[in-house]
Subunit: 207 residues, 2 copies
């Protein structure tokens, strides 16, 4: 399959496929001559994945490249691979304030209240700090009670996901990294729809 067939298959302009090649989001095809290369199903799948990540998941090309690199060449340590993957996903966290003492006070308090084990280096801690600070700044601080409720729901989800994680390391990395990126938008959409459902049932409005 040559580049125009690949582009057609994926529903993208050829120029865009070339761009993804340049940017390292798409692995090069096998060169058959100085001006020809051939692509296969794996390239089609990769393009679909790229579009999923840059589209609904909302990643920038840089972020998508970082995620794909982790899936392509995971370290042997699942834990640190996941940590790095989460760091590449939006939203960006709060910068850790130059004085190293207690850089994430809100997040620390929240996680202690939840009784959760956590690694302060883990990017999600900074993300939580940023999100809590944003809510504070906007005058919509999150009560400890609400945090507990959200934490409980998050723990339920995590337990479900962890039970289904593949045992083979490579597959586990892919499951975890892509699962984080791809399932989050689903969860958010479901939450918004659940709000609507609850509102309709409660307020007795017929849509």
């Amino acid at each position: 399959m040559r580049i125009s067939a690949l582009a057609a298959e994926a529903g993208l302009p050829v120029a865009t496929v070339k761009y993804y090649l340049r940017e390292g989001l798409l692995q090069p095809g096998t060169a058959t001559s100085a001006t020809q290369a051939s692509y296969d199903e794996s390239h089609v799948r990769r393009l679909r994945l790229v579009r999923a990540l840059t589209g609904p998941v909302g990643l920038s090309v840089q972020q998508a490249r970082a995620v794909l690199q982790l899936v392509d060449e995971p370290g042997d340590d699942l834990y640190s691979t996941l940590g790095r993957a989460v760091g590449t996903l939006p939203p960006d966290g709060a910068r850790p304030a130059d004085d190293a003492a207690d850089p994430y006070p809100r997040a620390r308090a929240a996680l202690e209240a939840l009784g959760q084990v956590y690694d302060p280096e883990f990017a999600a801690v900074a993300q939580l700090e940023g999100a809590l600070a944003a809510a504070d700044d906007a005058g919509m601080s999150i009560t400890p009670e609400r945090l507990a409720a959200y934490g409980r729901a998050a723990a339920d989800l995590a337990a479900y996901d962890l039970e289904r994680m593949p045992t083979e390391p490579r597959a586990a990395v892919e499951y975890t990294v892509l699962g984080t990126a791809l399932y989050e938008p689903v969860l958010l959409a479901l939450r918004r729809l659940a709000h609507q459902d609850a509102a309709v049932r409660r307020l007795g409005r017929d849509a």
Copy 2:
């Protein structure tokens, strides 16, 4: 308070404050002369809100303006105001396919399985469709079982939030719109951290 004091208070360059004024994200101050206007606490609060929305929440200036307009002038109908607000929040949904018959097949199936009331016009339906399609395209389709588990967690959260919604309409709009925008990043961070917690407990790794 003049513009430089306002900017200092909010920790922003004056040029940026002027930009937000031009873009209608910040309400104008009260003019005291041809080249002077005065600003107060409400402007400081608004700037903090704008930064929260464009930062951790990840809204574009356009999206933030749309959200703020809804908070400033909610319609008398809470239901449709919330619907419009959700439509302005990322991620963008799937385009509804020109042939009107069953534009959101995956989302419809999912919501029917969950037994949820929903309005097909509600933007979150298109968002769910897009997210499910992205997962499919990326080769990580979501099983009905997982969807049920996520849906249950979302319903728990929605029930909690709805119970605490203010009764006064204006406050209810603000609570719902800002709550959706500001609490989602918190939930995502908590989910990522819950994954880490569960992984550490399960795999017995010490951070």
